[in-house]
Symmetry: C2
Subunit: 718 residues, 2 copies
Amino acid sequence: MTTDSQADLDRMFCPRSVAIIGASDDPNRISGRALRYIREGGFKGAIYPINSRRDIVQGLKAYPALENLPEVPDVVLIALPFSLAEQAVRSCANLGVKAAIIFTGGFAETGEAGAQAQAEIRAIAAAAGMRLLGPNCLGMFNSELGFFALFASSLDRQLPSSGPVAVVSQSGAYGQQIAYLAQRRGLGVKYCITTGNEADVSVADALMWVAGQPDIRVIMAYAEGIRNGPAFVRALDVAQRNGKQIVFVKVGRSERGAQAVASHTAALAGADEAFDAVLRQFGAYRAESTDEQIDIAYVCARGVPLSGHRLGILTVSGGFGVQICDAAISLGLDVPPLPESAQVRLSRILPSGSVLNPVDCTGQVVNDTSVIAESLDLMLAEGGYDAVIAFFSTLPIAASVAENLRRGVMEGTRNHADRLVVLCTVADPDSVRAYEKAGFLVFEDAARAVRAVAAAMRLTARRRLSSGVSDAAPEPAAIGQGPVSEFDAKRLLADAHIPVPSEYLVASRAAAIEAAQQSGSPVAMKIVSPDILHKTEIGGVILNVSGDAAVGEAYDALMRRARNAMPSARIEGVLVTPMAPCGVETIIGIKRDPTFGPLVMFGLGGVFVEVFKDVAFRLAPIDLEQAHEMIAEVKGSALLEGARGAGRSDIDAVAAALVNASRFAAANAGRIESVDINPFLVLPAGQGALALDAAIVPSQDGSAGPPAAGATHARAMG
Amino acid sequence: MTTDSQADLDRMFCPRSVAIIGASDDPNRISGRALRYIREGGFKGAIYPINSRRDIVQGLKAYPALENLPEVPDVVLIALPFSLAEQAVRSCANLGVKAAIIFTGGFAETGEAGAQAQAEIRAIAAAAGMRLLGPNCLGMFNSELGFFALFASSLDRQLPSSGPVAVVSQSGAYGQQIAYLAQRRGLGVKYCITTGNEADVSVADALMWVAGQPDIRVIMAYAEGIRNGPAFVRALDVAQRNGKQIVFVKVGRSERGAQAVASHTAALAGADEAFDAVLRQFGAYRAESTDEQIDIAYVCARGVPLSGHRLGILTVSGGFGVQICDAAISLGLDVPPLPESAQVRLSRILPSGSVLNPVDCTGQVVNDTSVIAESLDLMLAEGGYDAVIAFFSTLPIAASVAENLRRGVMEGTRNHADRLVVLCTVADPDSVRAYEKAGFLVFEDAARAVRAVAAAMRLTARRRLSSGVSDAAPEPAAIGQGPVSEFDAKRLLADAHIPVPSEYLVASRAAAIEAAQQSGSPVAMKIVSPDILHKTEIGGVILNVSGDAAVGEAYDALMRRARNAMPSARIEGVLVTPMAPCGVETIIGIKRDPTFGPLVMFGLGGVFVEVFKDVAFRLAPIDLEQAHEMIAEVKGSALLEGARGAGRSDIDAVAAALVNASRFAAANAGRIESVDINPFLVLPAGQGALALDAAIVPSQDGSAGPPAAGATHARAMG
């Protein structure tokens, strides 16, 4: 998105004037709601209802047509039936309008004819340099301006107030619902943008725009699929650099779900695992449910930076303390005990409670709330915790206890205003609001509190931002569209600095024997042909061959078997290679995603990938740190670390190979469908690793999908 | 628990008269709260405050001492300081009281001296045939009788009303909180029993009693550890037979959490995995959070039996429909499409929506709610769904839409009163209550709704109840306390009908050669000594030996290595066995849990168990069906089913071996610490399986812990 287009979006999302074509005088009709909300919201700019049959609409002077307006409005809302919408877009374009929001449905979501109509309005707008939101969208709002151009009936109750949260959603229903739920949770929502059919402005564009707004801290986003992978990645990257936390819900994880997406939206559904990898790689969080999304936004909106993942737990009930501890451990948080000196002091205050962590004040707080104050103060001052969760059960339910508790909490946190203190308690809404006003977060359910805090720790941690790859990317390799033999694949990978065994491609019995002598016995021997992809199935691999005679016989046998199995195959010869040393088998792969471009994949060999789906993906290219993150993400990597009594394997060699594979993938984004290095054998620490087998499948269609999303991204950042 | 002790608990939990020793005139003090709640609750029985300094307490005639009462009360509440509690228990015993509830703290939870005091009151009560609840408990209530002998301040707001739910909790804080939350969710809670220090009545006893109450459908339970494994198992079994759904929260899953449990409670913390296995085996559900526990109770309390796991989804927003579908699939539910004839009819009603499943009514319902009625009716009538989730976003927020929606929903479900219909919608509390009164369940969050429905499907499914093992259990084996050699271990397992290879134990070079000739070469040869447990470490295993000379040399080498490595070892000879055929390596284990007795374990070999913790446990003994359930529970079993292109393995042989191992475990519960059959090699289907190696560790202490919890259980059911 260029700076110009950003400015056009400023006009759309922060307009000084608005015209509404098709504005109804009835404030309850869809075509009347936006006007009603904009008026009720106190929008200060000019509001121009366009209605050819009325002089006055909802108390405002109406105009018969766009052309009659005293000025060109910043944005035009189109709330017309399908049959009239295209003409309205044309009028906007002719008048020089730079932004239009189209509520009208009946376009691409209904089938081929609708898609053509959508292409038509898109072309009209593009030619006139006009940005479009929609069609078939619920609109958007900017609550600070009182610009509520959204026709959700949930606004009937109360118009949202402004705050550090933005909502960006492809689905109108989803967007208005989370805006409503956030508002009810006490979160101010400044922007809510729903993109609908995305004829022009996509979720990626809206994210990019919101990521540039200085007063936004948290972005709640929703999509069913991403249309423009590289633009989406750029938006995530800018959001990360600008310190915005993105909490994303994307549906269609299951196969049935993905089918359902396909059946109700025209959105391109790229591989879910690619989406997952991209969010993780660029510091956004994927929530599994709407509750989780709101919970995390609630914590992040508080704006407390969390530099680690050390959790302090204060409780009035041992059992709940343990429940919180279990949940924290399962999410990878640390629950370290207090320093010993603090334990000693605390045990004077809490003779019958626990002073480790969880700190258990027991029921005695009902009689003596100073215990709360002193424990909290000590934990915040000396525990070294990044966040403290304080569990108070149902204590605020009884009025007498509630007041004592409140005093204890306020006193205990007085000197720690900048810290994240989460109260976990069952209380009345008024009491919750009062604590929130004083800067606390309040959850009812302990497990939800922990999950949200853990997510916020991941999101707000000061990360070393990925800098892309600074060296010049490698040259594209010479890959045609035809099949690539194992020998050629290994040669290409060796050129990309991925280690392969010393190998000899021989075309005669005598050469085979000489190669085996050079390699040192025993050797493995394999037929080499671009036409034979599954060598073992035709007996094209013979292992553990020793001695000149046996090598000679094996050569003849391989050639015979290949000819018998596939008489037309082009046979390049036989590969002679030393038998592999002992090591841990892993898999390195490259896979082209239609939305995001080439991904690099890592997993342990065999069952790990196939049975447990224990793999990590990243958008290519990656750097060494990201490679190590990928390796750590794979559970089976415990084997590389030396599980089961074995020694540590050469993990650095794996990381280097992943980086080089990812750069190879990026440099050849248009040419490669997939690469499968399997097994990639990892030797003991210091001894390296070897690509024992490799297959490269070139792109068949010549179209590279998005042209190397990652590479583009790396250039954009370079 | 005998029938007599059940009757004593009837007296405690359903009393006709109650005395309160230490009843305060101040209704806000701990010692005054129970009296206040019992009066406010409208308890119809006699209430006798005992207070030596007042004639009237909270408006009731008070008595100076227990001995002055006109009758022996059914239950006595003891709300005294620690120093006076023992004397009060003694007075109760002397007077012939049969049930006492002791709020007083200061007992086992404070250390050794307190534990002795607790043992003392326990002995006094036992001698007098009196049941005790507590000490250090929050008490209990029976809301139908208005008997609120619970001093939780959360009762201040509103006393719970009766219904199909019972709460059984070791922790008072936890118990009162879930009772409060259930009440707020509209669930009637008839019994709430908190057991505290469990000097007498334990969570197991309370579960058993509640499981026998005919008007209870759902039991929400909480514990940190189980004191009496066999009693707990019997209670779960009775609950299952009586059709009660148990939703359990047990904390201490993480190691840190288990330490925290140990630091604040005297409860025996048996292995968490054993607890997990027992709940699964006896049809109870372990919830991970309090929210989840309440959600599941909410669904189960509705009392709709669910015979399968087919979910229908109706939605007004495609995106949320997919979210529900994703969640359902991830929890193992089926989301099958409507039958084609129904799809055809539905597509007439929904020209622009989706008619598969999810059925998407789109936003058109705002204008035409008959669409809801007809879609719901069709899904319920013809979809074959066990439950239907209907998602309506924020529609009820706008008053005009809410009424239309309500009519549509009522009409669409009119002919399906007996079905489970869950509305997923954001609505005001009044509107939610109205739907609930009409028989609907209402959730706000889609993911939570799905999780609760999935759990209810698991809980209420008509299960074939485990019948224990009907054949006579095998005789105990001859196992001493000394070490058991591999040879003896295999012989013992062979006697228990677990297949082992044909093996020869030889004590001379010549015998070794003859054994190898009998076996057919090649053979594996291993040193046999009860003193050498780790044979491979001393070079005590030689594989792939062929030919007389090689066999003879191997024999000599093994004897030499054993003598060098451990000159004092008793050497029984050398094991000669045919080399193993190809198969899938699995592990069968037996492990003694201190709480529950012997568990049988199954997992795939090696990394599966160690890296992924991919194992299943069951209390021994099990039957064939349970064995197959265990195998299916292990993800890696995909390899036995023929993943990775291999053929199907002999799963029936694994199941039979698990049953036999479990019966061996039960028959020898007192004698065995652990058994490790690793590898247990599974051959292709029809060819059986073989225990290639086995180790038996006998009990060292002679104390068997609980005497074969499972065996006891099997007898109890027999």
